[in-house]
């Protein structure tokens, strides 16, 4: 148990028996009233977003989570298949739990994963990742407008808007949160 006043962004809580991760926390003092904590929580298993307001003195049920390394093997269109690198145990999670992660994760790559007991709560994609440009349209000849952009597709299938000079076979760094192009990476 922790006091609601001690909850931070990233704290894992059990709410009505379901694990939730705190994605946003704000202290609020109503004009006349005791101190409250306004929380935005996300369920890692369903993606459900929950709003909750607690008095700083309220008790909340926190849960202990642990990070473990998992290698991403493949997806079968329904589930992601991962392997715990320490025990070689294979796990399967519905793709719907982590929408769009199939475009961000690379086959064979190892990711830090957050577990509560045996339940996978989060796959931690690094904030910046280098991808290979698998498909790129040719730049239209004569198109020299400053800031002109086009779409490319990475080896993971992620569509990214990039400057017009990026070519197939080159590497680019991408912000995985906003899915935006950051820079070209030279070998």
């Amino acid at each position: 148990m922790i006091k609601a006043g001690q909850i931070e962004k990233g704290t894992a809580l059990l709410i009505k028996g379901q694990p939730f991760i705190v994605v946003d926390r704000e202290f609020v003092n109503p004009g006349k009233g005791s101190a409250f904590v306004r929380l935005k929580l996300k369920s890692p298993s369903t993606g459900q977003v929950l709003q909750e307001t607690m008095k700083s003195q309220d008790n909340a049920e926190d849960i202990v989570v642990a990070d473990r390394d998992c290698q991403y093997l493949y997806n079968d269109g329904e589930s992601f298949h991962l392997m715990l690198t320490d025990t070689f145990e294979q796990i399967e999670v519905p793709m719907a739990t982590f929408p769009d992660y199939e475009f961000l994760m690379k086959d064979g790559e190892t990711y830090r994963c957050t577990f509560w007991e045996s339940q996978l709560l989060e796959i931690q994609i690094p904030p910046k990742v280098v991808y290979l440009v698998a498909e790129a349209e040719e730049a239209v000849k004569g198109d020299t407008v400053q800031g002109a952009t086009k779409y490319v597709t990475t080896e993971t299938g992620l569509k990214v808007r990039v400057p017009i000079f990026i070519k197939q076979g080159e590497k680019i760094r991408v912000n995985t949160e906003t899915r935006e192009y950051i820079e070209r990476v030279n070998n």
Partner: protein
Amino acid sequence: MRDAARFRSRMMRHIRSFFDERSYLEVDTPILSPTLIPESTIENFATRFDNPFLPSQELYLVPSPEVYMKRLIADGWGSLYQISHCFRNSEQVGANHNPEFTMLEYYTVEADEQDSILITEELFAALADKDTPDHLRPPFSHLTVAEATWVNTGIDLEDHQRQISLAAEARRLGLSVPDERESWQETFNRIFLTFVEPNLPQEKPLVLDRYPAQIECLAMQEGAWRRRWELYGGGVELANCYNEERRLQKIEGYYSNEYARLIEKRSRNGMPIPDIDVDFARIIAAMPPVSGVAMGLDRLQMLLMGRQSLDEVLLFPLSRILGDTGG
């Protein structure tokens, strides 16, 4: 930061000429006081006056200048205003909070809280220029707490005047209300802070009017409500207005209930327990009809300048003075 300092200097001049033109007297009352008006939800800063010839005495940094201004109003000084530094302890230091802040407080005699809406609207019109964001330009929009609650939650507060029934509504909306007994106002605040306040319309400054009577304060009660409003700009609370209570019995009732709550709470959290002056109830009761507004000027400046955080307008915010350890 120099542009912020220049903006502030100009804003202060506009505010002063606004009230001077309307014959309000500007006063300058002390920041230290030996007694405060009891407010259990506002934590205080205490300090001590040491004098070799007299016993030491605890003094408090005022959370609002009202403790002095109300004396002058009761003495028949007419409409007053003051710009002063105020202090609130134990609040989060962040985008909208600094423990030391600048408050504009104005009292209009022979006026009620509806008159104060018009005066405040005129003040905003006087402060607006071509760069003022739309959500700070008059006219103000207006909602009662009952309307805002109904629109956002489907709860008719008049139908749920008992805590048990309001708590059932809160649970229906998915909130976890602990089983231990809590006050009606605490349950109300859970609902208000989760579903109502974040969804208040933000296109125009908003007067949120008539708060539930269960939220005890020195604003006049009328049935289930109190004649009191708060002003929101861009979703940020900017000002608070009371039609000041003047019935001695009501004021004395507030003093004893609120002081009991204050002592109960502070003996738990170890914060300073300010002295109160029970005779002050008589002083307040002697005031002419009066409506008082307290407005946070740092927040107002932040919003008028289109900034996101007090750090962008305060020259020395506490978070910067203390470094990262200041929270």
